[in-house]
Symmetry: C2
Subunit: 481 residues, 2 copies
Amino acid sequence: MNIGDAPTGGRAEWLAQQLRQAIADGRLPVGSKLPATRALAADLHISRGVVTDAYQRLTEDGHVVGRGRSGTTVVAAPVAAPTATRPARPADPPSSGALFASPPGPDIFDSLRAATARIDLSPGVPDLAAFPRAAWLRAERAVLTDLSAADFGYGDPRGAPPLRLAIANWLARNRGIRADPDEVLIVAGTAQALGLIAQVLRRDGIKAIAVEDPGSLGARQHLRNWQVETPPVPVDGDGVCVDALRAGGAPAALLTPAHQFPMGVVLGGSRRRELMRWAGDGGLIIEDDYDAEHRYDRPPVPALRAMLAERVCYAGSVSKLLAPALRVGWLLAPPKYRDPLVEAKRFADLGNAVLPQLVLARLMESGEMERRLRLLRRRHRRRRDAMIEAIRRHLPGATVHGAAAGLHLTITFERGLDSGGDLADVDLAAAALAKGVKVQPLSWHSLRPQPPGLVLGYAARSPSDLAEGVFVISEALRRVR
Amino acid sequence: MNIGDAPTGGRAEWLAQQLRQAIADGRLPVGSKLPATRALAADLHISRGVVTDAYQRLTEDGHVVGRGRSGTTVVAAPVAAPTATRPARPADPPSSGALFASPPGPDIFDSLRAATARIDLSPGVPDLAAFPRAAWLRAERAVLTDLSAADFGYGDPRGAPPLRLAIANWLARNRGIRADPDEVLIVAGTAQALGLIAQVLRRDGIKAIAVEDPGSLGARQHLRNWQVETPPVPVDGDGVCVDALRAGGAPAALLTPAHQFPMGVVLGGSRRRELMRWAGDGGLIIEDDYDAEHRYDRPPVPALRAMLAERVCYAGSVSKLLAPALRVGWLLAPPKYRDPLVEAKRFADLGNAVLPQLVLARLMESGEMERRLRLLRRRHRRRRDAMIEAIRRHLPGATVHGAAAGLHLTITFERGLDSGGDLADVDLAAAALAKGVKVQPLSWHSLRPQPPGLVLGYAARSPSDLAEGVFVISEALRRVR
């Protein structure tokens, strides 16, 4: 309330009106007491008579009752409190044409998510229907029972000790990495990991991080947000071209060696050795190990971090194991960067929320996560096979890449989408979305010219949805040609 | 595995040893299959004979059994897997002397938290033992039952729509703020809010944000981390000195108008009007409304945001309402900064975790939060009274500040701690910690010279602990004099 707003001579009515408003919108709920007249007068620097007068008006209105020394109590609100009743709007659903008409900006993935589609083949999510709701709730009950009061206070910015231990064990069992729990930094997903790394490397004088091409558009956007240059390095059938990386001269590189995004190739043995030499000569590797656990035909490829701890920043998360909505990931860094990364995490948010960390630690240490991973592997493999079968049937001109692991595959049209070669993959993606199927065009993830292609997630959809989705894409292709 | 590490002529034994190691530490668990010899040979660029030889050695060891076409299966681990069994170390507990010997660095609050103490009077936390565990678990069960699979995917970086609605309603009922749910940005606590604001203001050319003096050391550290200058503005018994703010020329100011941290004064009516004029002339207010709901003797003072939405960035959180460990807060910004703040939040972490947001929304909309707040107010008031009583008895030379609201009070020793005036409040804090009582010295939160003082949290301790804690402080004072 600003008494300066009151008309001269009308202060009592102005104050009464302010109080009616406060009662109406719940700031002074029914049953609460009005401030003592003396106190409110002092607060507002007005005479006590004005306040008494205003209270009298409210009494006459029937909004309050005065009881002498026991104070003045609110008994009725003048009108229903106009509280908000509709949730926040989701981002406006864009039209299929608008979404793909211009180069993708920083909000592109929000816009794509907001677009309505009957069958969503966006890459990057596991089978979300399989989220272990009952196991999560059981673990949460156990955590809430065991927790001390102090655990609800501000926590360790590096993460809750039980989760750091569980991650160290998980990485030993599943990724061949030996790490001390003290080395593990818990972060809010790989997106945050990239931001923290970018901040710390910039302060260390590293202003460019080479990225794979094709490579994740999202990862590139995150690095660039932190004023880090992202020179592209080509990817071929054996993974990133280390010769080109070396020739480019970037001091660091963001790589997806276990399952390249989006092309899905595994970094070959000789490339691994070349990369080790590059790192040995001073290069810093940022290993985004985003979906390596999901390997279908043989055990997962060990992480680069397992072989060269001193030159690898390793980032993983539960986004592809459980759910992106959890926003939990982990980061292992060479000793030199460990303390600066903890400091960056502290200044980012003082550390991840504690309860979900402890729930996750229980799921990991109890074997629930491995059980779930085995279940997902079987289910995802069937879905992958269904998608490949549908592509063979409906899109005979498409080449399938990277289906040996992960949650997505990529198709390219090596001879173009149409005979003239004018049609771009964004046109196909727009046409598919117009028909109710959401996909990402390969060109979003490419810096240099590539054959047109699509990145297709299969893990979160049923085999029949996948078959129908691919059929709709083939129909869309026929239509735009 | 890097076959280049193998001794010439010893490749089969080297490979067998690598595999034994992988079985031992769980990368190849019992029951899993070894890769097909042909595939592993191709992967490692070695002859298939070397792989067959290595597998034969493992068979002879009894670690695997080969079954021809059905593959080679791990049946026994050679030694117990040396997985980590101890959790990550907490930050090393510092000595009471070392903690207060030098100016506080960015890790000071982690170090203080790590210090062991029988009675912790650090400010900034509510009664954590009162965390509504059962209500939280009930709400979580309801959320997990209702959630669609898609809700486990990547979410809206602005926050989950039901929580944004609940916050808008909460702010209307408790802080006099009318805001559309679309204006609410969910963040990971006030620390993250300050970081996002600092990033966005810097990009808008604002390189200095004035801070209150005394004022929160933590908030100041956060702003400075983002390369924002923090010129101090004095605080007196009526709150921040707006004259000095205007004279200093900073384009923005971080303020705690409802309950100044750490001095606890409420911004007086005429100061409010002066501040409104400063903002009307172009100043930007960042309102840290950290504990305003905890007001004991009359209704909370309305937020500045309620009066001047166009010039106030408003930040609040559940840290003082429920628990800092939840890492949930909210931010309302003038229209100009809304989209840039959403973008900064997206690049920080893609948005808060979804499950806790939905749980919190249920607690807020069901009235559980208000019930809890009433319970806390009663309990905190008794604790405050116990602390004031103990101070009157044991520390008669101390002046009490800011006890009308919040979770802490501040005491100052206006005539110094000793007759010579040589003793500093950090010495007293060190002596108290050596005797098992943890407090923060006022000088940590001061930029210009102030009388020595202590900032004392009372909300999280029982009345008897508070009385004992204050007594120990008086003993420590007697000792260091």
